[in-house]
Subunit: 285 residues, 2 copies
């Protein structure tokens, strides 16, 4: 398929949209940042674009159309809104029945419905890795530390549990330590899950002095891979490190790395591994 | 099978061992409380028995043998110990290889190994409901409030997720609100899970003023049902109530109720349901 003419970056919270906008600016590709307020980072204000509330979907699409965008990418964090207090425009109100029907089915169902509305409006929807190839997780050890065979077993177990949790559209993250499942991520998010691992009784977990256990993030088997791929960044390494984990593993080709160089530097400094596993490596283990 | 002569109550933490001891004292049945220190409640000191640390398994079995116990029940909460700092006697050291081999496989595997050691030592191991029949969860609504058909759907979804989570020996509790899985219990325990539900953003959960969502506890499909059946008590209702949940549901015949009258009174006062579902009711939903 031919490449798009101009890319609309529909930006939620977090650093990933900023990294993408900087990449597009550096490579000189035409782009427009449709910032979702108030969650989009203020660092995006320096890029061509406009701000709209989450519910002003018609106005946001019109902004992008007028800017000449023919493709869009949906990235960054967006918390589930309180429908009762959100401001909608007419176009968004027309989309509401489809979105409300999807909401109770889980995050993936809701995001698929949002994506379908953008396609219905005539935009091609791409995954962020089409615009920035090296953001996609690679296979093997990324830094100086490699997982041991015992840690690879924990990775395989966590990856299996994550696949099962994802099949129910529950979440993407799991922590396993010496074979024991310490935590399963649902609506609290990865950081919330890691903070509670740090509060578990010492016998079942590691410490920064004696690291044990692994965080695995993996896309849901049912997942629409153009949106909401699991993402790790420097903060993931820091929070996992504070929880005493020995490392972080993601599915190669199925997760995004925000500022990979900084991730590797943080992991090396903490003596932690960052590892990209292949599905066959864990599903057959 | 004929009934036992004298029952050894191996008591961990929480109120359930106290309720059982009081029941046995009232009915005049012979019993002996083998208190696991330091977790066993001080209220048990008033009953015939002795205190031993978790690792003194040989001495504890000897206590019960000398007291004339031919059957034992293992009840109450026992956190995973730090093997490195636990004190063991010779008999316990002989059991260690089997227990250590089971530890990484999950809580159920570990408890099965503990149970097997008691059977090997000549004790019959019974479930608490054999000694106190009305502790087992009954089917249907327990109090004044019944779940709505929408809430029954949340119960069915949570029960399915709990079965899947239990199949991996992860945990017994799940919270679902309007179809969305808010939390899955692992090593943090039910109270820890409910506290984090209370901290989730408002749009996805209920409040004490406008209750939404349900806590489901269910035995693991693989579970040895003589030990570690899911348990609810007044505190479960209070913590679920503080998290804004509309009610609590357990598998009829597959969960224990500590002081059922007090549970029902607390639920009625909070306008919450307590419901016992049958497996066919949720697995076919």
């Amino acid at each position: 398929m031919s490449r798009w003419r101009k890319l609309g970056v529909i930006a939620g919270g977090g650093e990933l949209p900023v990294v993408l906008a900087e990449h597009l600016a550096q490579t000189g590709e035409p782009y427009f940042v449709a910032r979702i307020s108030p969650m989009a980072s203020a660092a995006l204000d320096a890029h061509p674009g406009a701000s709209r509330g989450l519910g002003l979907m018609g106005a946001r699409m019109q902004d992008m159309r007028e800017a000449g965008c023919d493709a869009v990418v949906l990235i960054g964090q967006v918390a589930r809104p309180d429908i009762a207090t959100l401001e909608f425009d007419d176009a968004a109100r027309a989309m509401l029945p489809a979105l409300l029907a999807a909401m109770p089915k889980g995050d993936d169902a809701l995001l698929r419905a949002v994506l379908a509305e953008h396609e219905r409006a005539g935009f091609r929807v791409i995954g962020v890795e089409e615009a920035m190839a090296d953001v996609l997780a690679s296979a093997g050890a990324w830094g100086a530390v490699s997982p041991t065979s015992a840690q690879l077993k924990d990775i395989a177990k966590a990856a299996k549990v994550a696949a099962m949790s994802g099949a129910f559209d529950i979440g993407q993250g799991v922590v396993v330590c010496d074979g024991l499942v310490l935590a399963v991520e649902a609506q609290e998010g990865t950081d919330g899950m890691l903070r509670r691992v740090a509060e578990l009784p010492q016998p079942v977990r590691g410490t920064p002095d004696k690291r044990r256990g692994v965080l695995v993030k993996r896309p849901k088997p049912i997942q629409e891979r153009r949106i909401d791929l699991p993402t790790i960044g420097v903060r993931t390494i820091e929070t996992a490190g504070a929880a005493g984990l020995a490392g972080v593993a993601v599915e190669a080709g199925g997760a995004l790395a925000v500022r990979r160089d900084a991730i590797v530097a943080a992991a090396n400094a903490a003596g932690m591994f960052v590892y990209g596993f292949t599905p066959s490596e864990v599903d057959e283990a």
